[in-house]
């Protein structure tokens, strides 16, 4: 493996000096960084002379840099807004790559059963309307669980993040008060709670404080074996997040728009896990050097053929077949 990478590096140096090397720079979302790094290094290994660099600087930075033309492609966890698209110097196409989900985690000593949350309860906990674990509405979701009479300590991400975007986007859909109040964004004005920087800080806060609740990415919970609660989906079924449940919510989208800017939270369907989202690559549709454009297009084709199947080994949900087929057509139509 090491010898191989040295060989590739040597090859790259050779081709670079020969003038064949094609180097692409991308920047953006941190959430898909593990799978992107894996993809880019594998793709480079299989395509000598091509080098793709990706800097996980955050979705906001990714959007800014790609629309300003300082990088060859961007990546984001939340789709660009209409204003952002309109004011962008470089026009871009959203290409969904993998899916993620957000799960509620909590710390209630002595409770061994897995908690269930209905959407309104989750929203009202974060709005500060439900302040105690023994609240009747939580008990109603969890018959047979003896909930303690303790204050709910709300925790949330303090850094701007795609996770927060997905979570608040979901809360906006299920609660009118949330929609007209804090709203959906990578960072919002939280009505209550303690802020922690990063998934690990939220997990740390929740682990330390009995009575606390927080939200983290599904991947983070799976990798670190953090227990998490089930959430009631729009079909009225309590679903515990899983890679399959996330893929199901992408497959449940009836009208996939041509630019793929779609929120897939709160989809209808029996197996759907409701707090799910795509993450996107932002590919410029104009102004990119034709040689680079060719490489990028080839990479997207490779990603759909080979890359997607590797997603679940890193706990990402791959695109469901229906979406992958549509993306394939979009990529083929790109000049």
């Amino acid at each position: 493996m090491k010898a191989k990478s040295i060989l590739t590096a040597a090859l790259l140096v050779c081709t670079a000096s020969a003038g064949y090397a094609q180097k692409l720079n991308g920047a953006g979302a941190t959430f898909p960084n593990p799978i992107y790094s894996k993809w880019f290094s594998e793709y480079s290994a299989q395509h000598p002379g091509v080098e793709i660099n990706y800097q996980p600087i955050g979705s906001g930075g990714g959007i800014r840099q790609v629309t300003a033309g300082t990088v060859d492609f961007g990546a984001t966890d939340g789709p660009m807004s209409n204003e952002q698209l309109a004011s962008a110097k470089v026009k871009v196409q959203h290409i969904p790559t993998v899916l993620g989900a957000v799960v509620p985690i909590y710390n209630l000593p002595g409770i061994n059963q897995e908690l269930k949350f209905s959407p309104e309860v989750l929203a009202d906990i974060y709005l500060g309307k439900i302040t105690n674990w023994s609240d009747g509405r939580i008990e109603k979701d969890n018959p047979g669980v003896k909930l303690p009479n303790t204050e709910i300590i709300v925790t949330h991400r303090s850094d701007g993040s795609g996770t927060t975007f997905i979570f608040t986007d979901y809360l906006s859909k299920v609660s009118n008060d949330w929609k007209t109040g804090p709203g959906a964004n990578t960072a919002v004005s939280w009505p209550k709670g303690l802020g922690g920087k990063g998934n690990e800080a939220i997990a740390g806060l929740v682990r330390q404080m009995p009575g606390s609740i927080g939200y983290v990415e599904l991947i983070y919970a799976l990798q670190n074996k953090i227990p998490y609660g089930a959430v009631k989906n729009a079909s009225g079924k309590f679903v515990k997040a899983s890679i399959e449940g996330v893929a199901a919510s992408a497959a449940a989208v009836k009208m996939m728009p041509a630019d793929y800017r779609v929120s897939i939270t709160n989809q209808v369907g029996g197996d759907v896990y409701p707090i799910s989202s795509f993450t996107w690559l932002l590919v410029p549709t104009q102004g990119l050097d034709p040689a680079k454009e060719k490489v990028l297009k080839d990479f997207l084709g490779w990603m759909l053929e080979h890359g997607e199947s590797e997603a679940s080994s890193l706990y990402y949900a791959p695109l469901p077949a229906s979406v992958a087929a549509k993306v394939r057509t979009t990529v083929a139509q790109m000049k």
Binding site: M80, S81, Q84, G160, T186, A187, G195, G204, M209
Partner: protein, 356 residues
Amino acid sequence: MDSKTQQSRIPSFSESLSQTAVQAPDSATAPENRDPVVASPIREFLAGRGSSAFADRWFRGLMVACALSIFAIVGLIATELVLRSELSLKKFGVGFFFHSGWDPVAGNYGAWPFIYGTLVSSLVALVIAVPLAVGLAIFLTEMCPRWLRSPLAFLTELLAAIPSVVYGLWAVFVLVPLLREHVNPVLAKALGWTTLFSGPNYGIGMLAAGVILAIMILPIISSLTREVMSAVPHMQREAVLALGATRWEMIRMGVLRNARIGIVGSIILGLGRALGETMAVTMVIGNRPEIAKSLFAPGYSMASVIANEFSEASDDLYLSALIEIGLALFLVTIVVNALARVLVWAVTRGAPARAV
């Protein structure tokens, strides 16, 4: 910093200082000069290097350029901050600095809770760190047995070398649970009536941020204070002792009084670090842009909000508001430093030998 405070110290022992300053190079070259017949390498070099006027002019020019570069750097930072925050400056005006509210969705921004959080957490840090640091420095310079001196000094300096993220992690896993389970309940019971130590006790919050900052600035203040105190000439100590002072009186009148400008200077340096500290504070302050009376409550600091939200701030006003927070931090640092200088001036105006 050090040499500057030494120079501006009270005239009474500027003499003795200049003496030591002259002595140092002397003792270094002493072995060379012992025999006048042997040609010294310095003499050889000076004889062979050519015009001294030319060399002097070059040296002077170079040093002036170094000094002026400070103006250029500060000027560039200030202009860049102002230019980049234009959007938010125009929209919110001066009110930005005194307005509470931080809502990226509605596009409503104000810096006041962040300014408050930065100032209060730094103040808590100073209240804890200054007595500790000065006490440590007194012990090290005046009463520490020789065998203990270097391990203690080494450990203090080691504290200064620990990266702030490590402090943050330690705070999250050790300090915060300790505060939550043992310290805060006691504080609430004893001092709860002040409302400074009341309300829900999460462990993380303003107090935790202040304590971790105190630990971080302790080595800076104590090692600089130690340097300044050991620069006080022994004659001063002997003179006060000869007048019949106790050890504490000797330290107070002979040492602390003479070293006070340097001590204030070291406190200012520590405060500077506390104001700008980002990582460790973010991890324990609770990141809530709210002004609460209780130190148990979560708060937010200027450096933390920039670090937290900059990478994901996608719309222009949001970014501009974050940069204006940077401008606010810049201004607060300037104001605090200016106030500290006024304080130094006020303190040092008095007569040198009062028994305060």
